[in-house]
Amino acid sequence: MYKALVCCRAGMGSSMLLKIKVDQVIKENTMDIKTEHGNLDSLIGFDGDLVVTMDDLKDELAPKVPYAVGIRNIMDKAEIKVKLNQFLDSKK
């Protein structure tokens, strides 16, 4: 079971929807990932395996976390699926 943090700047609207979409993808594809939701402050003390965020924040977060996924269109489940699978492949 991998632990993922879904976050954005303020951690309210867009990352909330991103979390819902990520959860849908995880459920439909029975991926072994559990998500939690937060903002940039939630990174402090985060001990999980990956962070899912908006694409424009990815480069900023990448050096600070084990693995960062940046999503360009938060409603695009195909994109989320491809990127989560890349993460899972990297763990094999």
Binding site: G13, D41, D55, N73, M75
Partner: protein
């Protein structure tokens, strides 16, 4: 006993918890999820209250200093603060307007050509505050406020994003996303300003797009919401404290700063404001979470052709530099608007706020950039920035009479639609 029960159900935390409970039941969640989801929603609302109490205290201090230092009434344009105040007094009305708004939004999307489902829960909450307050100011009874207010809110949620749809389709590159941020009138305007700028400057994608502009790295700091609020408030506190000292009110500063040294105290107050804002946002996130999840689940299941209207950062990845240009543009617009209020001897001065400039200004930047490049982004967000500080003047007198003073609701749609309702109601006496 009946009175006691009626009094109890007026508790906003309970109303919010009940909404979450119904949402979870409708989704047929497990017993464990229902119990934990409902409790977490209520706890989230209580955290929000703690944050909003803390922030109100600091805003009171700030306005006291501002009013003493400058001799005019200063009002922050922090929507979260104004909402906190509104919920303390009129929580029941606001919460009920919001829940009916959700239902009406679903119905409108199902049966009319307006297909947006407004998924930004906190914006629904803020708009519910504005609408409820306008009706309360005209002395309507709770059932009317809830019924009419809810219908207006739900209709706006489904219809207003339509204004921005042509631009959204071009920005995102597909027709499956709407903007769920109540500045839609402003964003569409910024989009048209961008088109105009593009025409005048013979815009071509190659050379004028914002992605070719190198913004100083410093501005990237503002991507972190809590940090930008902190920096902004520290600067504002220094400005008002220095104004007080210069104008001979040192004793007030000394009195308020207590044991802290007077010139270190503003730094601490600014940071404390950001701390309180963190708590408040943490609470909003927690109490909106289950309600939004239910809203998403219901709309996806029963209204498959609906279009999700999402919070503005969702479009930031499509033009990240335009976001930063938009922040700068709307902040400059805010300062310009402030200058106008001073020049025209306005009795109230609205002060631009970091959060609103970043999110709303940044989004206006993305819209302006589409056809106008960086110049379109800058001009579009500048104009919106003026609107964000000037428009709250319209409703502020009515709201401050209800006790919501020192903070205001800056977003464009709140004020345009709110003033329109206010005007309509005044026609009927």
């Amino acid at each position: 006993m009946l009175d006691a029960i009626l009094g109890q159900v007026r508790n906003t935390a309970i109303i919010v918890g009940t909404i979450a409970l119904i949402g979870l039941l409708l989704q047929k969640k497990t017993m464990n999820e229902i119990i934990s989801g409902t409790s977490k929603t209520i706890i989230g609302f209580m955290i929000f209250n703690i944050g909003s109490d803390a922030i109100s205290a600091i805003v009171t201090t700030f306005t006291t200093l501002f009013n003493t230092g400058f001799g005019i009434e200063g009002v922050t344009t922090q929507v979260e603060v104004a909402t906190g105040m509104a919920l303390n007094t009129y929580g029941t009305e606001v919460a009920l307007v919001m829940v009916l708004g959700f239902i009406v939004n679903l119905l409108v999307a199902k049966y009319t050509r307006f297909k947006a489902i407004f998924l930004t829960g906190q914006h629904f909450l803020y708009f519910a505050c504005v609408i409820a307050l306008v009706f309360i100011a005209h002395g309507f009874s709770t059932p009317i406020i809830v019924l009419v207010g809810g219908i207006i809110l739900g209709f706006c949620g489904a219809a207003l994003p339509t204004l921005c749809q042509p631009f959204m389709n071009e920005i995102v590159g597909s027709d499956n996303l709407a903007i769920g941020h109540f500045n839609t009138i402003g964003y569409a305007l910024s989009g048209y300003i961008g088109k105009f700028v593009g025409k005048v400057t013979h815009y071509d994608q190659e050379s004028s797009d914002s992605s070719n502009v190198n913004m100083p790295k410093f501005f990237e700091l503002f991507r972190d919401f809590v940090f930008s609020v902190a920096l902004f408030m520290v600067v504002l506190f220094y400005v008002v404290v220095i104004a007080c000292v210069i104008n001979g009110h040192m004793e007030l500063v000394q009195e308020l700063s207590g044991n802290d040294i007077w010139f270190i105290w503003p730094l601490l107050q600014g940071l404390k404001f950001a701390a309180a804002m963190s708590v408040l946002i943490y609470g909003v996130r927690q109490f909106i979470a289950e309600i939004t999840a239910a809203f998403v689940a219901i709309s996806e299941k029963y209204i498959p052709d609906s279009k999700p209207a999402v919070d503005c950062p969702a479009i930031f990845p499509f033009a990240p530099t335009a976001v930063v240009i938009g922040f700068v543009g709307s902040f400059l617009g805010g300062l310009f608007g402030m200058g106008l209020m001073i020049a025209f001897n306005s009795s109230v001065i609205m002060i631009p706020a970091a959060g609103i400039c970043f999110f709303s200004g940044g989004t206006a930047g993305v819209f302006g950039n589409k056809h106008g490049g960086w110049k379109g982004a800058l001009l579009g967000s500048f104009v919106i920035g003026i609107g964000l500080v000037m428009l709250p003047l319209l409703l502020y007198p009515a709201f401050s009479a209800l006790g919501i003073s020192g903070a205001s609701f800056p977003n464009v749609d709140y004020n345009v639609i709110g003033s329109f309702i206010d005007w309509l109601l005044s026609l009927f006496g």
